[in-house]
């Protein structure tokens, strides 16, 4: 694989919707431990709306489609997840505007813009026990892999693996942003739901685009 096509992007979006549907209860469960028990429900409502929105609207423009995903998430997810995932996809879209293919460097730029967008929106720092704890290592590992000369597929796999580690590393953390922060010390010992859905996103990217 040298580049990702428009159809690959659509397949990723569909696969992410499937993953979220499948992991809905798990994400909600994680959110019930340190939040308000709705993260899976919210994300699933959003991704279902995305599927309905995209259905039969193949524009061929990767950026436009990702922006539509972002807009749809913004207006259907709500809570913290809505603006954050909405921003993530809006930024992916802005960075890939007009493109019908993504080369490894395009994804690097898009991912960087998306992660910046999430951080600008939520003002989270690393170790605040948020989505950023999965996204930032995922972005960094991808970039490092490309610099190491890894293949596109390999870089995506390393990105997902780093996000997974980042997600797991949220377990001992004390939350400092979002609803979980109200728990103080009691938030330690639980995996962050947003970091989990962010890992699932990068994992779905890898599974869809770097599938064996």
């Amino acid at each position: 694989m040298l580049a990702v096509t428009y159809d690959d992007v659509v397949r990723f979006i569909q696969a992410y919707a499937d993953v979220i549907a499948e992991q809905k209860d798990h994400l909600t469960q994680l959110d019930s431990a340190i939040g308000d028990a709705d993260h899976g429900i919210n994300m699933n409502r959003g991704m279902k709306a995305v599927l309905a929105k995209l259905n039969g609207h193949a524009s061929g423009d990767i950026g436009a489609t990702l922006k539509t995903v972002g807009m749809t998430l913004v207006s259907t997810v709500g809570g913290a997840g809505g603006p954050l995932y909405g921003t993530l996809f809006l930024q992916l879209g802005a960075a890939t505007s007009g493109k019908s293919e993504l080369e490894p460097a395009d994804w690097e730029a898009a991912l960087a813009a998306a992660v910046d967008g999430v951080i600008a929106r939520g003002k989270a720092e690393l170790q605040d026990k948020t989505m950023a704890d999965a996204l930032v290592p995922g972005r960094d590992a991808y970039r490092a892999a490309l610099e190491d000369g890894a293949s596109f597929a390999e870089a995506l796999r390393r990105s997902a693996a780093a996000a997974e580690e980042g997600m797991k590393a949220t377990i001992p953390l004390v939350a400092r942003k979002g609803r979980a922060s109200y728990l103080g010390e009691r938030s330690a010992g639980h995996q962050d739901p947003g970091a989990t859905s962010s890992w699932l996103l990068l994992k779905t990217v890898a599974d869809t685009w770097a599938g064996d």
């Binding site: 709705d38 207006s75 709500g78 603006p83 979002g178 609803r179």
Partner: protein, 333 residues
């Protein structure tokens, strides 16, 4: 899960249909996206007040739309912040040319969604001032958290700022009064039982038959301590002390005392609690000049209560007493 609903996914829409059917004289309801505006919106030349938040806190906010209070409310899904498109549509629908105040409870989701909405509205030339409500003293170390949550003071703020807007004060004045209310209001809540988000289907938290959670949030967020059930007098002592010491309220101050039910608390218990609050404040030399007792900012069917104290100036008293005509709060008209 035992609830008087049809399908969990339809609760919010059907609630809105119920409000629309019940109060056509007071409000109009829109569905795509969801928002509620007062029947005569937009009121030309009046600063408009828009609030919103997750559903499940009824009558807040939809029940506070009407003359003398909110111009619009945006209901999210249960316990989930509404989305920027709702806030944008509501803001446009009620903008009477004098600017719009967004009243935002301090939750990450609400803050970010309202931020995006305000950006969209400003881009279209509407003057928007955002006012944050963060009155929950249960949240400690607010430097290391998302900050204090917005709870009971929201109700008082919406009433008082609504009265100021009704007097045709300017955008800045209305926003300043709202901020003054927030600066002088403090709350703390407690829960006897959990609540169940309809879409989740099971209780948000587990709590023993003899336990209570002191400092609970209105979405069932954990509080300061899990303790054994205590007499009302002791519970009030703990909560009121935390509230009073925070502003701090001093001897001679006049306050509005708001004893709020969490949704599953019967009024008889709220009056028992109010009696303890009155005794407590008397002991501190603080005078209750006004009060509000009832379930106004709720957490679905959670049993429990919150106590909000708002330090009152004569001006705030005047604005509190001004007529209000909404489904959830009404007097003077």
């Amino acid at each position: 899960m035992k609830k008087l609903i049809n399908k969990p996914d339809d609760v919010v829409t059907e609630e809105l249909q119920g409000i629309e059917a019940a109060h056509p004289d007071l409000v109009r309801v829109f569905y795509d996206p969801h928002y509620i505006v007062r029947a005569d919106a937009p009121v030309q030349g009046k600063v408009a007040l828009v609030s919103g938040g997750g559903s499940g806190h009824e009558p807040m906010h939809g029940g506070f739309v009407g003359v003398g209070m909110l111009d619009a409310a945006c209901p999210g899904q249960v316990f989930t912040s509404p989305t920027p498109d709702q806030m944008e549509a509501a803001t446009k629908a009620v903008n009477g040319g004098a600017g719009v105040v967004h009243i935002v409870k301090n939750y990450t989701g609400d803050v970010m969604n309202f931020e995006m909405a305000a950006d969209l509205c400003r881009a279209e030339g509407i003057d928007v001032e955002s006012v944050l409500v963060d009155d929950d003293v249960a949240v400690q170390d607010s430097l290391y958290t998302a900050g204090r949550r917005g709870v009971g003071t929201t109700v008082l703020l919406e009433k008082i700022a609504g009265a100021a807007a009704e007097e045709r004060r300017s955008l800045k004045e209305v926003a300043d009064i709202a901020r003054e209310v927030n600066a002088n209001g403090r709350s703390m809540g407690m829960a006897l039982t959990s609540c169940t988000v309809p879409a989740a289907g099971k209780p948000t938290f587990e709590i023993g038959d003899d336990e209570i959670e002191i400092g609970i949030g209105i979405h069932g967020e954990p509080g300061r301590e899990r303790t054994k059930l205590k007499p009302a007098a002791e519970i009030v002592e703990i909560m009121a002390t935390a509230v009073v010491d925070d502003v701090p309220f001093k001897q001679g101050d006049q306050v509005l005392a708001f004893v709020n039910g969490m949704g599953g608390t019967p009024l008889i218990e709220l009056y028992v609690v109010y009696n303890e609050v009155a005794k407590f404040l008397k002991g501190r030399g603080v005078t209750i000049a006004r009060n509000l007792i009832g379930s106004y900012i709720t957490s679905l069917e959670m049993a429990g209560c919150s106590i909000t104290l708002l330090k009152l100036s004569d001006e705030l008293i005047r604005l509190w007493d001004a007529p209000v005509k909404t489904p959830g709060l009404r007097w003077g008209v």
